[in-house]
């Protein structure tokens, strides 16, 4: 008899998402070292090679890897969508993305054409394989909820972001920067942050906040319209960037207002949550909400893409996006381990709360938030940059340990086979 569990057969194998989750903090550590050996003057410009490499170590290496890993896990639960050949898709896309990312960083830093070509092929094929597999899986969805629509929208923005990214990377291979290079870079970065990551976060929060924290449901206006309105703002941003650059502020206002409203909504819903728990995941939602509010206003009122790049990146990529996805990792990873072990028939296993040391999770939170605050201040006080980078590196090392700890429990249980309770299957 197959005891692999009836509910697990529709979930992907545990290593499908976990390989992405375990790799992400390693790119975070790499980004931290690159910041440590850079200087705040270089990081003020988004066009410096250091800035581009560090940003992509964070966005592709950390944010992208966690988002893609999470989607392989979430799609069967949230949408009933199965990624075709999930094992092969995740294995190959993961390897291609790791190779593509590392060679991109090396290629740009060393100005090496061969490395850039390897990176172009690796990132292009890696992203396209997994994003298309997700799109194919969404074709079979019968019940298109607000969350599923948001996932689909996010993946489409992700696909265009990747294509624009490949166009930009190609200019480093051909040594020819088109007249549109900066405009494409503007659309690429805004679509990546607000389209690919932002819309996915909003869509998932429609489900996660009410369900995991018993917070009030999002209003139907939010669920039905906000993703479309943000998408319209992002398309307007593209249109104005290409044809009426002097009016891009209009699109900026449009996008920023909806994200600010989202940040406020998250804060208020957490205030009204019915569960009394106040763990590190709640702290991460709170910090994301504060950083997003700050980011929305700084983006409108400040010179986003000119002199204060490190400030904007620390607030939006770090404070907003990283906060939320690290918080979600603390929910997803222990549950995945528990769920897969339980479905294999092991009952005497640690609870979710026992898989990750609470104090280490808190330490990791404080180190990460301190590093973001430090990065912001390093614009005004360059001497703060190195200590902030160290704080970031340590937070990523602790995070890697915190993700590995449940996996070690998983391996240990499979090896020692502490019990095998048949009652669940009776």
């Amino acid at each position: 008899m197959d005891f692999n569990g009836l509910s697990v057969d529709q979930a992907p194998p545990i290593f499908a998402p976990m390989r992405f989750f375990l790799t992400a903090p390693l790119f975070g550590i790499l980004a931290g070292f690159l910041i440590f050996f850079s200087d705040s003057a270089t990081l003020m410009s988004r066009y410096s090679i250091d800035s581009i490499v560090i940003t992509h170590a964070m966005t592709i290496g950390f944010v992208g890897f966690v988002m893609l890993g999470s989607m392989t896990q979430m799609l069967p639960v949230l949408a009933g969508a199965r990624i075709p050949n999930v094992k092969a898709v995740t294995t190959y896309s993961h390897i291609l993305l790791v190779i593509g990312s590392i060679f991109m960083f090396l290629g740009l830093l060393k100005d090496n054409n061969i490395f850039n070509i390897i990176s172009f092929v690796g990132l292009g094929s890696g992203f396209i394989i997994i994003l298309f597999a997700i799109l194919i899986s969404l074709k079979s969805v019968k019940n298109f909820t607000a969350t599923v629509r948001a996932i689909l929208t996010s993946v489409l923005f992700g696909l265009f972001t990747v294509l624009m990214g490949l166009h930009l990377l190609y200019s480093y291979i051909s040594y020819e920067m088109s007249a549109l290079h900066i405009i494409v870079a503007n659309v690429h970065s805004v679509w990546a942050i607000f389209g690919f990551a932002g819309i996915l976060i909003i869509g998932v929060s429609f489900q996660v906040l009410p369900m995991f924290y018993v917070a009030p449901k999002f209003k139907s206006f939010c669920k039905q319209k906000v993703v479309w309105l943000i998408s319209a703002g992002l398309i307007l941003w593209l249109f104005l960037s290409f044809f009426y650059e002097e009016y891009t502020l209009v699109a900026k206002l449009w996008i920023a207002i909806f994200f600010w409203a989202f940040a406020t909504t998250v804060w208020l819903k957490l205030n009204r949550r019915r569960r009394p728990i106040n763990d590190v995941t709640v702290w991460y939602w709170r910090s994301a909400s504060i950083f997003l509010t700050l980011g929305a206003f700084v983006w409108i009122f400040d010179e986003y893409f000119k002199h204060e790049y490190i400030v904007m990146a620390a607030i939006l990529i770090g404070g907003f996006i990283l906060s939320i996805i690290v918080g979600m990792l603390y929910k997803i990873v222990p549950f995945l381990v528990w769920f897969h072990l339980n479905a294999k028939g092991y009952m005497s296993i640690p609870t979710i709360n026992e898989m990750i040391n609470k104090n280490l999770a808190k330490l990791q939170f404080f180190l990460l938030i301190a590093s973001f605050v430090g990065f912001i201040f390093s614009f005004y006080m360059p001497e703060v940059l190195k200590i902030s980078a160290l704080s970031f590196i340590f937070s990523m090392i602790v995070l890697e340990y915190n993700i590995m700890a449940p996996m070690l429990i998983y391996k240990k249980v499979l090896k020692t086979k502490p019990d095998f309770d048949m009652s669940t299957f009776s």
Binding site: Q10, V77, L78, A79, G80, N143, P350, S423
Partner: protein, 146 residues
């Protein structure tokens, strides 16, 4: 009268409320949470039985799918029952850490289970059983927990 999908979805939210009340009460004192814990477990069991003894049976008869999604959901009900049993044991023995560790585990287990039901199974059930919707809701409403 509400549809099968609306009725069972609303019942999920009712169980969520009872879960939150139980945790609230347990945060004060595990002894004092006896009643809230019993009520949550009873209502969850009632919900499981409404599905297993009524809706799933109707669905299986209508579609001929007895080893499909309903079998998967029955298995997850059993997983949840097992955790609820351990939860009550932790409460009775006064082990707060264990209790909240199990309540967190149960919460995520139930929520991902509810998502699957609400996103997939209930819409499928509503589609196949729409003609008998009122009768099925009536039967579920009047169920006596065994």
């Amino acid at each position: 009268m509400s549809t099968i999908k609306e009725y069972l979805t609303l019942d999920h939210r009712k169980c969520d409320e009872l879960f939150a009340l139980m945790e609230d009460s347990a945060a004060q004192s595990l002894d004092g949470a006896k009643e809230a814990c019993a009520e949550f477990i009873h209502e969850s069991e009632r919900h499981f039985q409404m599905e297993e003894r009524v809706m799933f049976v109707e669905f299986e008869n209508k579609t001929g799918m007895s080893q499909g999604p309903t079998a998967m959901m029955r298995h997850e009900h059993n997983q949840a029952r097992n955790v609820m049993k351990q939860l009550e044991e932790a409460r009775a023995s006064g082990n707060k850490d264990k209790f909240f560790g199990l309540s967190e585990t149960l919460m995520i287990l139930l929520q991902q289970h509810n998502m699957k039901e609400e996103q997939m199974l209930y819409p499928m059930a509503q589609q196949h059983l729409s003609a008998d919707s009122d009768r099925i809701v009536d039967m579920m409403n009047s169920i006596i927990v065994q």
